[in-house]
Symmetry: C4
Subunit: 266 residues, 4 copies
């Protein structure tokens, strides 16, 4: 039974397990990488002044390719609306919009770096499932600990607001703490141990309070780490649901064929 053109295109564009589908995906990844590189290069003044037009033309060519690709995807897929409003559909659209937008708003074409998200397709080519499992495992662990993370963030936000205000009162605009928002910015910079040094306390009392914030930030990092680690270990990537029919032990490793407690075949 001969395939129609549509079926052939579907296989090439949407699937990655036929040779032509694989080639298409690899080509796509390369074009995405080139396109991101172009935007970066264009932003470098010395390169921009010399190769401005070449870079611009190439960007429009690539945007053209992506536009055609997006149109094809919408045309070929069986349920166009489902694709358009899916995660990949939205990313695919956002990947072409900035260049057109740059006709109206100058400079906005830099936003094509959002194409980087399209690189997620790389996982489709090389042993998809293992990376998807790894990614889902990470997301599940984070999702399962969302309440704890939310409570933790609430505490952090509260702390930086109060500490920032105190530092504003202690140090004041004459030592670089120009306003409460910028003092809160300082508190975040300090608490997260980033420490730019663009704003830093100069009075003895300010340095004393800052020391507490630093030690707090240094110790508090244990909390998200503890949350995520505990969560990751609670659900130990168990893909098997093996239970021993003899002693009912269900704590088997993934590669176990026999019960480790009683020797029963699983």
């Amino acid at each position: 039974m001969k395939k129609t053109l549509r079926e052939n295109l579907y296989e090439i564009i949407f699937e990655a397990d036929t040779p032509s589908g694989k080639i298409f995906d690899v080509a796509l990844l390369i074009v995405i990488l080139i396109s991101i590189l172009l935007v970066m290069l264009e932003s470098v003044p010395t390169i921009n002044s010399e190769y401005r037009w070449i870079l611009r033309v190439m960007e429009w060519v690539i945007t053209g390719i992506f536009t055609v690709e997006y149109t094809l995807r919408v045309a070929i897929v069986k349920k166009p609306f489902k694709y358009i409003f899916s995660f990949y559909g939205i990313i695919d659209l956002l990947a072409v919009l900035p260049t057109y937008l740059s006709l109206v708003i100058v400079g906005s074409h830099s936003l094509v770096v959002i194409r980087a998200i399209r690189l997620l397709r790389v996982f489709r080519i090389f042993k998809l499932s293992r990376y998807t499992v790894a990614g889902q495992f990470l997301l599940k662990a984070l999702w399962a600990s969302r309440e704890k993370i939310f409570v933790f963030l609430f505490f952090i936000v509260n702390m930086v607001v109060i500490v920032g205000t105190l530092m504003y009162l202690i140090e004041g605009p004459e030592h670089g703490f120009k306003s409460i928002p910028s003092s809160i910015y300082w508190a975040i910079v300090t608490m997260t141990t980033v420490g730019y040094g663009d704003i830093s306390p100069e009075t003895a009392l300010g340095q004393f309070l800052a020391s507490f914030v630093m030690i707090a930030g240094y110790a508090i990092i244990a909390v998200p780490t503890g949350i995520v680690t505990a969560e990751m270990m609670k659900r130990p990537e168990k893909t098997n649901t093996q239970v021993c029919s003899n002693c009912m032990n269900d704590q088997h490793e993934n590669d176990a064929l026999f019960c480790k407690r009683c020797g029963q075949k699983l």
Copy 2:
């Protein structure tokens, strides 16, 4: 049976499960957020010079609202003293005091940011219990590891005092290590990996010692993290609600079949 005005007010102000109680709590949260925003905006010089009076008037209006609310709470609740000296009671009072205090001490009204703590009520509105459980879990894990954290902090304080003094002797005031306290401040900034760069060693020996402090700080962070993680995993967020029918002990592990205190079957 008709409710008295007092009972109605109690439901609105203190409870969050009736529609009017929910609306009251949401309104309160919004007013708190506005009030914090006002204080922040007021501290920004450009905004302050233009909108000074509007911001001031709004702050007094909000403080008025909070004062009325606090008075009502005290008047309505059955045991006023218990409320006044409870955690929420103290926070509610502290949330109104700074504005009145600013009549005496200039600038102290910035402390109204303490109102941020009142935002804790947000957890009363949306699925209270899950966040409370998460919060209590975090607090319990930290509380259970208090001895280890105390020993750890003792070690850190000792280390920064000794290292700070050594650096003061090595680098001296001519390289920015003006006094022992400010050298200890540097040691804290370095050990916690904040690293402002406002003070940094310049002699070869100083940089050598600093390198040790940095690597120590980098490795030592493993200790609080290990403590908290181990603690979090030891008490794995009770998903069971098993209570022994004999001795009422509710601290059972998930895989427990018998009460570990009295041997009663669960």
Copy 3:
């Protein structure tokens, strides 16, 4: 039976469970704290210029007290040599030496901050055992992972030496990387995420390599954390050695009175 003076003094100086022993220990702690504070204050130029003589006299008085105390300890204890060469004995001696040393080497009296280590005695006063257990637990966990930590540090040292040299070749003295040792110092500052900013790469290639070092340092911190956490959980502060006489299960919590698997009394 009347106690001799020597026995009385022994109880006061070496023990902490009699009232007079407790008072002695608390007094000692206060004197140590005052002495550390004195050294700090003396290093602050404005304070030093005004109160120089008072501070000096007080320091000599305190050193006198400590010298008398040390002599008494050696005189009273049954095995003087064992005390002298014990951890506490050495610290007690080091706590008095710097002041006498300052007669020979100017400024060396700042080293009396080593007295801070004597504060360890604080744990003798308040519920000794629990903090000792916590401290020993931390030390054991670190000691048990010494091989892994050593291998890890070896890897880190190797990496900063090689990266530092590469950066010296790439950036060179004209961008602040004055020599290989100072480039290695930069590598340590960067790898440990301290990031003073006193030296920072300026060439594109240097910033590219620095990015790798940063991400490596950011991810590598997971290794010591993992080592210590895993070690802490492997030996879960098990102070009991309870084994069920019925089913031989030995995984009981410290407060368990009955086997959680079969209900047997432990």
Copy 4:
């Protein structure tokens, strides 16, 4: 039976359990350390200007020693090609090349610091096996979590590219964000909490976005830590050496009584 010269040399150079072999290895380590020290000292301008010729001569002498040693190793070993292309063989060659290369490319001799990797032989001298086990344990834990680490790095790279571009649009070259690549460099410096401060946001919007990046970076560090810790605990440093007598499987948990692959009693 008398040993040939070749056999004797083999024992000295390749083995570390005879006295002469041990002496050879210790001597080698000392020479390596001296050689690294030489390169470092040479890069320090003040030392270089004075001792230039001594340092150069010593470096050539050491390179000569290493060249002889490498030639001997190739000559003595039974399978020369296997050695040459082994990890140690390549490192041994790389350790001599830079000095010869410096005849062609000025300054390249600094690369002899790669000799630092040869220090790995230190583990051969002191209780080899324990450190090798520790090292292999760390490598295995990292290798087993490679998919998760790859997904994590992919996410990080994507995030810094997008955040960097946004900051370039928000802050622009006038606030130090000269181009997209240098803004991405800033994003990495911030996300990894290094925070040099050579580039830092100055607009309110930029500081707001930067705050998110910092808190994200602060919390995200929990992910690699969680991955590595969970992995380290999953494969708990085999202390048993149980090998199934039936199927030769040696991957048994410590509490296993029966082979999990074939059901054979262990």
